[in-house]
Symmetry: C2
């Protein structure tokens, strides 16, 4: 869930200064329109980077007109608060229409802390339900509800928390940040993931922001806040045209969060990894033997697995799948190639066609492309509406959670190659007669949209990768390396079932 916020996003000082100035002017202008509207704005700032949360709140108070902003931070509940239901404090502090209320940690930290300090799962699930309903009620009432989770990679987090510890004004209770570095990491992380997934809805989404570089972090938060509120104002065509013209005259690119830093989680994949022929054959043999044993044992134990492969065109999905199934008995697995939906499939919910193929006891089903088409090709090519692909993340998460709760192993693989490598492979296909049929004009057209696809992949990973059902991003510039890597992960996954 956090991989996509460990990319090392930064903003250099000059860019930051320039953006900051423009942003502050826009934020003030936004607030003056907001004042005349009946929209309350609820900003939640939480996360594992606790010192960072304080800094962001500081920044918001400096950049915004403080007369119409109220910041609410919560110490240990006083007598008044403990005597009343937990949400009483938060209701009391809700911003009136036309203003902004910033909530520091608030109900997010409270619900997580209760769970991690030993509260039982049912109480936790009930509390999460109250949070969902609370935020939904606000959104239904016309509020902009926007939530930021500030994230630091683990080593940096440990360092920051140590620094913070040296200050005497420590927080009053277990803090999510502490949770993610302590020894119960796995359990705690799962509580955080469950919380963020369940409460990340279309009308009250979480934005997981990488907090490594304060410049990037501050601009990202301000940008997203500005976008979320501005989107709610009645659209005034003339005004937008004026803004655009003014920006163009000033030589500015219109800033948006998406363009803030073109780096994505895919940049973290080290595409230089490779195996020479000899290493490859040796490892492949070892891994295929291991897989043969594992798949037989899985069959005997009557456990099941779902594997799915996504990746760039020509990334080598087919070849990888072939090596994967070689050592498995044919009756133990099935490959499901996913193409354009049939008439029958179009007559149903898009997940229907995939549910049909769920494996029985002892079987492995391998999807060559999958339900993620909804948030990849269908998103980028416009086959799905924005509403459709946006809600697909939740639908997919719920679907996959059911598979894991039933006891399946779910392995998700994205085969990653560079743009140059893809071009090389396309050219090679053109000149190899028996491979030429694989290449169509469409492949070249898709290349044009590389950046759009990359943004879609990054968001997919951010929203559907979790510690229980992670995305495996596989370096596939070297096919040998990719095949062995996939086999290794599948072996581990199947062995985890035994």
């Amino acid at each position: 869930m956090f991989e996509a916020a460990e990319v090392g996003h930064t903003l250099d000082k000059d860019t930051y200064e320039a953006k900051q100035e423009a942003l502050r002017a826009k934020l003030i202008a936004m607030q003056s329109r907001l004042r005349k509207s009946d929209i309350p704005v609820i900003v939640v700032v939480a996360g594992d980077d606790h010192p960072g949360c304080d800094d962001v709140i500081q920044m918001l108070n400096q950049w915004l007109d403080p007369r119409f902003v109220q910041t609410n931070a919560y110490g240990p509940p006083g007598e008044e608060a403990t005597q009343r239901p937990a949400f009483w404090r938060y209701w009391r502090d809700l911003p009136p229409r036309g203003t902004i209320g910033i909530f520091s940690q608030a109900w997010t930290a409270a619900v997580l802390a209760d769970r991690i300090k030993g509260g039982d799962e049912a109480a936790f699930l009930r509390a999460v339900e109250h949070v969902e309903r609370f935020e939904q009620a606000m959104a239904d009432d016309g509020a902009v509800v926007i939530k930021f989770w500030l994230h630091l990679p683990k080593d940096l987090l440990q360092q920051r928390l140590k620094e913070a510890e040296e200050h005497p004004d420590r927080e009053w209770r277990v803090h999510p940040g502490d949770l993610l570095v302590d020894e119960n990491l796995a359990n705690n992380l799962q509580a955080v993931e469950t919380y963020l997934r369940r409460t990340s809805t279309g009308s009250a989404p979480w934005h997981v922001i990488e907090s490594t570089d304060p410049h990037y972090r501050d601009v990202a938060v301000a940008e997203l806040l500005l976008e979320a509120v501005t989107r709610r104002f009645p659209r005034d065509k003339a005004a937008r045209a004026r803004d655009k013209a003014a920006a163009a005259a000033a030589g500015e690119e219109p800033t948006t969060f998406e363009k803030l830093d073109p780096h994505t989680v895919l940049d973290l994949v080290d595409l230089n990894q490779s195996l020479n022929k000899k290493e490859y054959h040796q490892r492949l043999e070892e891994l295929q033997d291991r897989l043969a044993r594992a798949s037989r044992a899985v069959y005997q134990a009557r456990r099941s697995a779902v594997l799915l492969f996504e990746g760039w065109d020509a990334a080598g999905k087919g070849g990888t799948i072939r090596r994967l199934v070689q050592p498995m008995k044919p009756q133990l697995y099935r490959i499901v190639p996913v193409g354009a939906p049939t008439e029958d499939e179009l007559a149903h919910h898009y997940l229907w066609r995939f549910w049909r193929h769920m494996p029985g006891a002892g079987h492995v089903v391998i999807f060559d492309r999958s339900w993620y088409g909804r948030v990849l090709v269908e998103r980028v090519e416009g086959f799905a509406t924005e509403d459709q692909w946006r809600r697909a993340y939740h639908e997919i998460n719920d679907f996959e959670e059911q598979l894991v709760e039933h006891g399946y192993y779910v392995g998700k693989f994205w085969l990653h190659i560079s743009r140059d490598e893809q071009l090389k492979r396309f050219k090679a296909r053109e000149s190899t007669p028996y491979k030429r049929f694989k290449l169509t004009d469409e492949d070249y057209r898709n290349r044009e949209k590389w950046n759009d696809y990359e943004a879609a992949v990054a968001e997919m990973v951010a929203r559907t990768s979790s510690s229980r059902i992670p995305w495996n991003l596989i370096a596939a510039n070297d096919k040998r390396f990719a095949r062995c890597e996939v086999l290794r992960i599948v072996c581990e996954g199947l062995e985890s079932l035994l």
Copy 2:
């Protein structure tokens, strides 16, 4: 939750015959429009009246064109199904667009049975979440999702189940109907209530239908199904005008579910109950003594209560509240009269003004009118949009559940009088100089809308009364009886905190 479906709704044979004929023609016409649309229709038939569910499904298959209806009933999961996640069967059986899928019991019975056969609460809450997401995904995808819970009063239910037992083809697993008559009634009922509340959403609502009279039940179900599907067709003004003209020419009233039977849960209140002066003074004194003791004990135990009073104009709320607080120390209670919202209150979510008044430890807060204004006066007078008052039921349920989870006693009272009694009291006010100020033209105007208000009260009770937080419908034609009844219930409520 079920009071409103124990009213004794019936339909005489002639009305039934006439309605049936018209309905069947309309259902067939609806199906032929449906065929040309991209809407799948998902009908869930479940409930405690298990034999009734079968009858309703029979009826639907007879009244609808069976070529475009598929009925899905579920026996014990076979090998195929147990090897896969629970929802696999239901996904497999989803109706294609343009057709109707009827689901007998299905996931509803499965989730409830698991809970009641000893599944833990966390597993239950996770399952309910999957149900919510599943039904939401269908609705988001354009499906009409409509769910019927067929309910029988307990004695009748026992009798029907006995009859059914004599047939050899008993259901394969614990059935919700059995649950509601067995010895764990309270726990089981709470599971059913939790399930129905959580999964009754705007886009996939439950309709609790009284199943006492098969004629009423069948027509109600068919009517609601027809309305739900037809509402989704593009509105064709000309066609609607034609329909209306044709109906008028045939001397028909357009049938709608709302008009099917004007009886409501309020008709069950026996307005003849009364106390003579002597009885009254004696009981009042006893009850006030008891209340004095209970309220002191509650204060010492630092427990709290929220009481709220709704009712017809001139039903005697003020006088009842005065008798209620007489024996309580002034520092222990507060009365909050609820009028039109202030500017400050309008700048917030409508529940905000009520949250502010939640009592501290040891205190009792009494609301003279309450948050239910949203689904009563604001609904009937059009101050709230349909979306607003419809979602208020969920918001209120979640709010009150938080109060009870925190340990408050929540007492909800509707003071009921007859229309005639109200008129008598209005007249009396007119002729009593010191009471005249209480009467305005508006009171008479509200009388005109008696039926609309009564329908709103019935729906409010159906959607917000539960075994943990029931509505108390108080017979108030006799003020003495009403006052003693309220005092008795409040005493019991406070004593339950000790």
